[in-house]
Point group: C2
Chain length 260, copies 2
């Protein structure tokens, strides 16, 4: 018997397939495209086939994420907050007790504070200002003509992060253009960008009442420069799971196991 979770985000659909012992059997991530439902169906079918699992052995499929309501295969939906909270304990490396999930996605960012029993105490979400989301990194990577995956490794080479004064993505773009024109080192610019994003996320986390035992998920979790800048800004250890972007889908699959 298997359980699937689909996290249908605005940019990517993430899917996780687990067995009844909570082992991760397969996972996939694809651009959402114009048909999140069709994309999800293809992903589940491909994962099932690759693992020789007949469709009717998938007992429950739960959808989460921005487009969760249009996923026709899903028997139920859960909010991203609930899915991330549920995924946290599974995702936590080395059985660390997670008390706060910080999810930095391409279009929004969230902070979810949990009690010792993994129940949600509080959460905060930003999807209004791109400056507090992965879009900040995406926009500035474009200005620097870098792929977003290059930002993390590059920033770790910096000994002297520059400070980015503009809090707005649009104004920060101009600021980065002028730093490049002034021949500043790219690693120092990128490190400055990470500190700038980390500062904003840390402010949101503190306001939400973040507790030590922090799990960093979403695209932000794949960027070692963000993890390190966030560690400095919050003065709390940041734990990064093996599959940061899968946390919501994993949580949805796990919820499907205990649901009925």
């Amino acid at each position: 018997t298997y359980f699937a979770g689909i996290d249908a985000g605005s940019t990517y659909v993430k899917a996780a397939l687990m067995d009844e012992n909570q082992a991760l059997v397969a996972f996939d991530q694809r651009p959402t495209g114009i048909d999140a439902d069709g994309t999800s169906q293809k992903m589940i079918a491909a994962m099932a086939e690759a693992n020789g699992i007949p469709a009717d052995h998938i007992q429950n499929i739960i959808a989460t994420g921005y487009s969760r309501r249009i996923i026709s295969m899903a028997r139920d939906t859960v909010t991203e907050i609930k899915a991330h909270a549920r995924g946290a304990a599974w995702s936590a490396p080395n059985s660390i007790g997670i008390r706060t999930v910080i999810d930095i996605g391409g279009q929004d960012s969230k902070v979810i504070v949990l009690d010792g029993d993994n129940e949600i105490l509080n959460f905060a979400m930003n999807d209004k200002c791109a400056a507090g989301t992965g879009r900040f990194l995406e926009s500035l990577a474009r200005v620097l003509e870098l792929d977003i995956s290059e930002l993390g490794p590059l920033s770790l080479q910096s000994n002297m992060p520059l400070s980015i004064n503009s809090t707005c993505v649009v104004f920060a773009e101009s600021e980065v253009v002028s730093l490049v024109a002034r021949k500043k080192k790219r690693e120092d610019i990128v490190a400055g960008i990470h500190h700038s994003l980390a500062k904003r996320i840390a402010a949101m986390a503190r306001k939400a009442g973040a507790q030590p035992g922090i799990l960093l998920t979403g695209g932000g979790g794949r960027n070692a420069g963000i993890a390190s800048a966030l560690d400095e800004a919050l003065l709390m250890d940041i734990h990064v799971p093996e599959y940061p972007q899968l946390n919501g889908a994993l949580g949805a699959a796990l919820i499907g196991m205990t649901e009925d």
Copy 2:
């Protein structure tokens, strides 16, 4: 005897040359470039020469704007708020009593509330979030592959302005891309963009205590679509001067006449 005002903004330098009777003799606007001081010197020299005015007949030069402190020809500097307040009475069309100046520039926007004697009662300024400035229009014009000067006339053709839900420039860009993909009319998109900017400016104006008798200056004053959307959002008549972008430079020149 002549008086000059230089408004050295982050994008453009604007200059006004007036005679002792407050008549506008010449004006000029040039991209600031990397040397705002040099640009200003060239502009003043060119205006003087074109009008056969010997340099020593310019009795006073006052600078305002972001780069005012580096303008070496200026005998003194004034804040943009003061310059705009002083320029308002001169700029007002048909001797309308101006009680509020709304200045929408490329990098910031301001609301200045005046009493009946042209004294500053209150002001508000936004230079942190590009969504409340001309940059919002500039970014979205680029997405629509339009020149910023085309926005006003185009939007006036719209009978059904679309609503733009994102308040953030970055997210609004994506929203406009998707409206274009859905084959929405460009004039309705542009009208929606103007209403979105007008809503934010109106909120700032109301908070600052805007009074009827409104003068719209800066680049925003050159866009008839913004004037009309602002009229609707504030439910107050919007007056546009002949030279909306010159108001700060005019105010600086006028201050130079009465200064010593």
